[in-house]
């Protein structure tokens, strides 16, 4: 299997991200499994959010640690409820790797994958889930729910 980063004096962005993804694959999953089984109980308190402690409202990243924890415990729905962006990130990562392999080794096209759409999607998911969380908290504060 040949991985071609450079073609005709032109370096491919998606090939470089694919290499980084390959290198990160094992450490990421090893860390996730460790975190899901012993790490969360040991160092989970380190990730507590200062913003939430001070103001009482969650920041856009709140729930991420618990979502990561539940993702590697296999409880995907709970993970989605805590923070959808973690599930999105994992899905985008796997989708990117699969799409790169498909395009380069099965279809054999030279079309590059546009990384920026993954970023815009992630921002959209983060902002959306934050707005929904804030809406739930405000609704609870004024006793609608």
């Amino acid at each position: 299997m040949k991985l071609c980063i450079k073609e005709q004096e032109h370096y491919r962005t998606d090939a470089i991200f694919f290499l980084i993804g390959l290198v990160l694959f094992f450490p990421l999953f090893a860390f996730g499994l460790w975190f899901g089984h012993t790490g969360y109980n040991r160092i989970g308190q380190m990730f507590a959010c200062g913003f939430q402690r001070v103001t009482g409202f969650p920041c856009p990243g709140c729930g991420g640690t618990r979502a990561f924890y539940y993702l590697f415990r296999g409880e995907f729905f709970k993970s989605f409820l805590y923070h959808p962006a973690v599930l999105y990130g994992m899905g985008a990562y796997l989708e990117f790797m699969a799409l790169y392999l498909y395009r380069n080794y099965i279809r054999k096209t030279n079309r590059e994958i546009q990384i920026q759409y993954y970023l815009y999607g992630a921002l959209f998911v983060i902002v959306l889930q934050w707005v929904v969380k804030l809406a739930f908290i405000v609704a609870r504060l004024i006793h609608i729910l």
Partner: protein
């Protein structure tokens, strides 16, 4: 240094940025010098706990995209913050 080298060196942390400003062909690679400055300024936000770390991942991806564009000698803007022009 020629314009290509200046553009690449500008992305390599603050030290590289200062080298690119002082010793490089700043006018030739003004696009990448400016973009490197914008990326590194926004990366400072990543020290905020929790939400800053997500932002840090975002900036890391932007940084790699900018660096690859500099190596290819393309003037390609990174998403979201690429429109900002500090150095003219």
């Amino acid at each position: 240094m020629d314009a290509k080298t200046t553009g690449i060196v500008a992305y390599l942390t603050w030290i590289g940025f200062i080298i690119a400003i002082c010793a490089g062909d700043k006018d030739g690679a003004i696009f990448h010098v400016n973009q490197a400055l914008v990326i590194m300024l926004f990366s400072l936000l990543a020290v905020i706990p929790c939400v800053g770390w997500i932002w840090g991942i975002f900036m890391l991806v932007c940084w790699i995209m900018g660096l690859v564009a500099a190596i290819n000698q393309e003037e390609k803007e990174v998403p979201l913050i690429g429109k900002i022009r500090i150095l003219k």
